[in-house]
Symmetry: C2
Subunit: 304 residues, 2 copies
């Protein structure tokens, strides 16, 4: 089952020719989720062939422009392109008034339902739940209210091996029964135990988006056990004081979060434009945590 | 004296990989003016090496997203990049509340003065006046209130030929007197008439930005005699009914405006994404008006 993230932008607020402002698209079991939507995100989606109209949920972390200024354009373009399906936006409560004022000023009457749901500033909450996925928002530590998002696959039912379906002549109702851990009496009177024909399902995977935030124990708690963490790494260690005063993290701090949370892989992003290359971020993080990748526009990371 | 326009975006509202949303930068005697600011304009300025911090005036035609959604990002970036100089934005009165709400939500306290001045929905007005240039706003005919902008060089004083300065040993005060049309008595008692040493100044040039608008006699009046007109040409003649119902123009209608206004050159822009190439716009306009250019991102037009 697909679980991957496409980076649309991984630069920090000050503009740069190298990186775009924050945005990424998650594909979880062929459903698309947009996380943050900085200016130009719709152009990036076109560039990287992301099927915009298939995005039904958008998650906005906070009200700094580099994380949401592309949202109004995205909403307008989907209207112009004939969207009818509902779009749900999760984000800070200030977002609703801004979007509504902009829609009113342009006298745009959307042809699709748009719901804007405020995330909690104070506690971790499950905000989305479907048959295979839950999404949580959780407060981070930034200059203004800011939430991270955790995408968590649900436990799957065991799989019946193909061979055993043929061997025992299993019909669909028996397969469901066995997957649910209930023994089945076959036509020949024999009792078939689930463990005879079931194999363990793939363990559930999860992805946490932590940008923007200072180093935070609360963030570690919120994402504990998550398989892949994307954590902001605006600065290198030489700017640790600046990171503190601006409520951002260094690469080392991001790595410390990954280590403490017991994740398998760390993706770094939200790079300040002050550094000529991004390689130093990875080097500094590797001193603390062994599996570090650098985000880059257009890159697709498969969540293992 | 420089008088040129750099196209940052010349596409219509529906997004396309070919064109960016509306924005252009005018350089008039080395002062930079930004006209419209669609999403991604700041990235385009970086791409085309426009010195953003030298822009002190921004002119926004109307509140459709493809004409202003890049403004908040531009304002924020100038703050992040250390701007101290005042920025004045001229645009629809709805703009002020939107910008202020966004600044409040991000808790951004700009380090430079930002003034937002509402343009008139009903009449042509001089909104900017310096020693060599006047800028007018004038209402156009669109689905929502929308103003075009006319940039008009002032008449210049006559020039004194270099040769005559040497020949008559003219000093600065005498040169100023002659430029102002007053005769000068030379040391030898001879009277020097201005017409003896003056040559006519370059005639003043002007540039009108007319986007978005349906064909409008009022627009023709507002830009009469302007040397170069940029006029929207969203559709070709096959879509003339659609142009009418959406308050846009066809290439032919843009050409009819240029002809009636007695301009020297027409630049077409705001092209709908429905056409595979833009060449057809020019062909249709040429049937009515002889000097037609097509806008394109990165192109610089010198205003003659």
């Amino acid at each position: 089952m697909t679980f991957e993230v496409t980076i649309l932008g991984c630069g920090a607020a000050a503009p740069t020719g190298k990186h775009n402002p924050s945005a990424q698209v998650l594909n979880v079991h062929d459903k698309l989720f947009l996380v943050d939507c900085g200016e130009g995100s719709q152009m990036q989606m076109r560039k990287f062939k992301v099927k915009m109209q298939r995005i039904n949920e958008v998650f906005i972390t906070h009200m700094h422009g580099d994380h949401y200024l592309g949202l109004m354009g995205f909403i307008s373009s989907m209207h112009l392109l004939g969207r009818k399906a509902k779009l749900t936006v999760y984000g800070p409560e200030e977002l609703k008034a801004i979007l509504e004022l902009q829609l009113k000023a342009s006298q745009t009457f959307l042809e699709y339902p748009l719901e804007i749901i405020a995330t909690s500033r104070s506690e971790k909450q499950c905000i989305y739940d479907d048959k295979s996925l839950r999404v949580y928002s959780f407060p981070m530590k930034h200059r203004i209210d800011c939430c991270g998002f955790l995408f968590e696959e649900k436990e799957r039912k065991p799989k019946i091996t193909k061979a055993s379906i043929g061997q025992y002549g299993l019909i669909p109702s028996q397969i469901i029964q066995l997957k649910n851990g209930i023994a089945v009496v076959l036509e020949n009177g024999e009792t078939l135990q689930p463990e005879t024909v079931c194999e363990d399902p793939e363990p559930p995977k999860s992805y946490a988006y932590c940008s923007d935030t200072a180093y935070s124990e609360k963030v570690i708690e919120a994402v504990r056990g998550c398989t892949t963490i994307y954590h902001e790494s605006t600065f290198m260690e030489s700017e640790v004081e600046r990171a503190k005063s601006t409520f951002h993290s260094t690469a080392k701090q991001a790595a410390a979060v990954a280590k403490a949370a017991g994740t398998k892989r760390l993706i770094l992003g939200h790079f300040s434009s002050r550094y000529a290359t991004d390689d130093g971020f990875r080097e500094e993080a590797l001193e603390i945590f062994p599996n570090v990748s650098l985000a880059n526009e257009g890159q697709v990371f498969t969540i293992h």
